[in-house]
Assembly symmetry: C2
Homo-oligomer: 560 residues x 2
């Protein structure tokens, strides 16, 4: 029995209870407060981040040179270099590292993984700055989504893995009467056998939140993991890998169980990496075309993908315009629409809707939401924090193209000043009005702060378009505002059939783009937005197999 | 709550206990006795089989013409025709049938599936004759493997599915304090959404045993199932489909939830069928090349395969030659080596082994096993029952080719008389002696009654070759005979790493080619012999997804 397992067992037990009940739970505090994290935590975290800038990031792993050219979306080069991987030495090293790890017991592996999460949690401020200056998220969001929320998602994967590893007993006695005088008695032993080397491919916008589930699910089930960050967001995963290696080394395991495979935009390694025969598990987060390429080509591996989609909001009717527009204004502005859960298409009947007993036109509803966006961004400090910065130049270019492609500009996108970072790449949301007939405009993923308000015949058409978008292009979220129980029930059925989770009538401090670990299944796996869910049993069970042995009980060695 | 569920709940509960403990369990009696199945059961079953011969097998499903040209390996044409499927009507019909089925509760679906198994059990004699005269199995084996053992494997899949369908609660309340005065309370609903139409591809040797797990796992999780039998073994699955449709109809569901898609050797439909966009789940049993084709090409579906492999026996040392040779003689003769679990390669050190304290040469060991084979087949009736008949002409041709390819014939294969069926296609096992260096001969799958006795340097080399065969060509079983605890321990590790289950020192009434439902994992999924296991959680969880909806608790309709 491992000491680390005992030390963190309550965290694990609480997490297991949570995934069974799917009630609210969080193991890692989301408030970036000195009272929780220590009075100097923020300062220490900032100092650690600043100390990393313009330096080589040391990881003692097989490497051949250096790589790295991250730029903060807030307007400066990070100047950090990382070990450049040589796959011909890195992959065999990772494979060899599995020897002792796969033979140790599940308690020991879970204990090590829980300790890694614990140390990551202590470093949440440092991680916050690292995530902020690679993804462009505002600090508060970077702290939460990059730190405790990502850690919670990692813990959730550990909880599922722990449950799955208990499903089959380690030994059994099998006794069958086979004749009047003969009984066969066998001792059976069931061994967990890891699948092989896992690769986790991070994205540029949520490098830790989307990577931790795969990383921990593969590691805890006995596999080695190669962490392949997006070239624009290496630092958060490099910190993660270094902490994982520290804990593994301290516990007497080979640190090459977790290695970094950083690459450069102009010299990508992912296609080569994911088709290597040693690689047996792949977790991918990113754009749909490359995700589909991996699904079709990395046939030697089990592939879990979270890709992209076209998320919708259907407005059928509501009680309180201000509560709804405030919620949507924030939701559409947050991190400039760069969340995979952000809504792109807002369907509103062209003849308007009922709002608290009063008829409101399409334009009334549209104006109310736009007014909420304008109010939120009107305060410079609040606006900068909500919007963050645009991660990539391609997203920036997309905004301007979109306005020119058709439809009516209801709210132009424009630069927004960030007082702390004057060179930050900031744009406010572009809101276009289009007609339900303009499918070529809105029936496609337009990543970034781009929103279509779409005039439909009625809610039936709105739902038909929202679910068809999910079926054909994928969708990770769908929101509905309705006061009609039959409309809600119909939407629940229709979205379930389209494999997209539905959020009804959210107001106040809960938004459609939020997905809570231990309770919300993130990505259903039932439409083209991805084939896997964070987290469910299916996310874990493919990462290991059980191989048995059996021997007559009279001849069996004592069970060890 | 469904009446059928209540009626069969004890069977389900017992099965769930068994998969948790992996102790011995069987729900359906394996003894073909009138006391259990009714005094007229055998006669009735035979009459039903004979009544089916030279007739059209009626299934009221969308069809366009007739197909079917089965021949009994015992030497006569069955003369049965089946509805010829038109996929353009059959697949939409199956898809449409899912409507009410997927929305009903899990209890109802499980109840229906348990009733189907119950009725199949009552028809075990009829099934025994149908399996015997399509696969060539002897009657006793056909009854057991085609009837109760297959039903047990189906029940095992139901038990896993039932457990998985309970894993996530149907509703939850999520309550999060988000500020000093604000708490968000959401009602969440979690819906099981089936993946789509499943296809189950049967094989010619175990049409029901290998098909029932996929059939029941897909059906019970809300999917429709298209059953595609091997053109040489349609009848057992046609009987199964007709019974399933009867129960579905009686319970008010659309019978097209289970449809038959029979085809002909010279007009195969499988490639077209498995790549249709409606098909989202595939269960395949059969040869490796076609299984690999499906894995690589049916990328729109979740694919579960059981293919083939090269199974080994490693002889290191033993106590009682007679007990071991008797066990191996039966094991190697049973159903003429046409089980996917039959051993092909028997590794024996060229310098011999220790047998009960006495040194025995390679030839001594080889002779003892051959003598056991000869003794078993020496009695005509017993021999006919053990050997059964050769399912396919290709297997027959392979035997003669093998003898000519190299190595020394230790025991020639020859025709064996079957008194009841003089035209039966019967051959006794061919046993060849080759050297460990002759890899081109034994490092390949040679399906049928073909056995290589391989002279090795020592047990270390034997194990190396056995596990390399598993890694490179797949393996479903491995047997070891050793009296040395350290050899056993090393073999357990090595075979686990190669993904092949190990059977140690089996003697008496338990054979390496036996795989018991509820306890033995059949195929590990960890080497090229297949990617799935009968049965484990992974076999079930990919057949459905969970899609959630959430709504503030103040606005939620009462949970229904």
């Amino acid at each position: 029995m491992s000491t680390l397992f005992e030390r963190h067992q309550k965290t694990l037990d609480d997490a297991v209870s949570a995934i069974r009940s799917r009630a609210y739970f969080s193991a890692y505090p989301e408030i970036p407060s000195g009272k929780i994290y220590g009075e100097t935590a923020r300062k220490d975290g900032q100092a650690a981040f600043q100390g990393a800038l313009n330096n080589a990031f040391a990881i003692d792993q097989p490497a051949s040179g250096a790589v790295g050219a991250e730029q903060s979306p807030y307007g400066f080069d990070l100047g950090i270099t990382y070990p450049k991987p040589d796959l011909d030495t890195l992959l065999p090293a990772a494979e060899a590292a599995m020897g002792a790890w796969k033979h140790t017991d599940a308690e020991t592996r879970v204990g090590v993984c829980l300790e890694i999460l614990h140390r990551l949690n202590k470093r949440s401020f440092e991680m916050g700055f690292a995530v902020m200056h690679t993804t462009g998220q505002g600090f508060m969001m970077a702290f939460q989504a990059g730190g405790p929320h990502a850690q919670d998602r990692g813990l959730e994967a550990l909880a599922y893995a722990w449950e799955e590893l208990q499903r089959c007993p380690r030994t059994a006695t099998w006794e069958k009467r086979v004749g009047k005088e003969e009984t066969v008695v066998l001792n059976k032993t069931f061994r967990v056998v890891p699948r092989g080397v896992g690769v986790v491919i991070g994205c540029s916008t949520f490098p830790t939140w989307n990577s931790y589930p795969g990383l921990f699910a593969s590691l805890v089930t006995g596999n080695a993991v190669v962490v392949k960050p997006h070239p624009g967001a290496i630092l958060p995963l490099a910190i993660t890998v270094r902490i994982a290696r520290e804990v593994l080394t301290e516990e007497g395991f080979d640190p090459n169980l977790v290695v970094l495979a950083a690459d450069a935009h102009d010299d990508p390694i992912t296609k080569t990496l994911v088709t290597r025969p040693e690689v047996r598990i792949i977790d991918y987060t990113g754009g749909s075309p490359f995700g589909e390429w991996i699904e079709a080509n990395a046939t030697q591996a089990v592939v879990y993908t979270e890709k992209a989609g076209v998320n919708s909001i259907v407005i059928d009717g509501l009680d309180d315009m201000r509560a709804v527009s405030g919620n949507l204004g924030f939701s559409l502005s947050l991190y400039s629409g760069q969340m995979c859960t952000t809504s792109q298409n807002v369907f509103i009947p062209r003849d308007g809707v009922d709002v608290g007993g009063e008829h409101k036109s399409f334009d009334d509803v549209a104006s109310a939401i736009i007014k909420a966006v304008d109010w939120l961004l009107g305060d410079a400090k609040r606006g900068a924090e909500i919007l963050g910065a645009i991660q990539s130049e391609r997203t920036l270019a997309r905004i301007d193209q979109t306005a020119a492609e058709g439809g009516t500009v209801l709210r132009p996108s424009g630069p927004v000043e960030n007082e702390m970072f004057p060179d930050a790449r900031v744009r406010s949301p572009l809101i276009m009005k289009v007609d339900a007939a303009d499918e070529k405009l809105f029936m496609r993923e337009m990543f970034g702060p781009i929103v279509y308000f779409i005039a439909t015949d009625d809610t039936k058409q709105s739902l038909e378009l929202a679910t068809r978008a999910a079926r054909e292009h994928g969708a990770i979220t769908c929101a509905l505002y309705s006061t009609d129980a039959s409309v809600i029930a119909a939407a629940e059925e229709a979205t379930a059939d389209a494999g997209v989770p539905l959020s009804c009538n959210l107001t106040g401090s809960i938004w459609v783009n939020q997905s809570a670990a231990f309770s919300d299944f993130h990505v259903s796996g039932a439409n083209p937005s991805g084939n896997a869910t964070l987290c469910d049993p299916a996310f874990v069970v493919g990462r290991f197999r059980i191989v048995q042995s059996r021997i007559p009980v009279s001849q069996a060695a004592p069970v060890g």
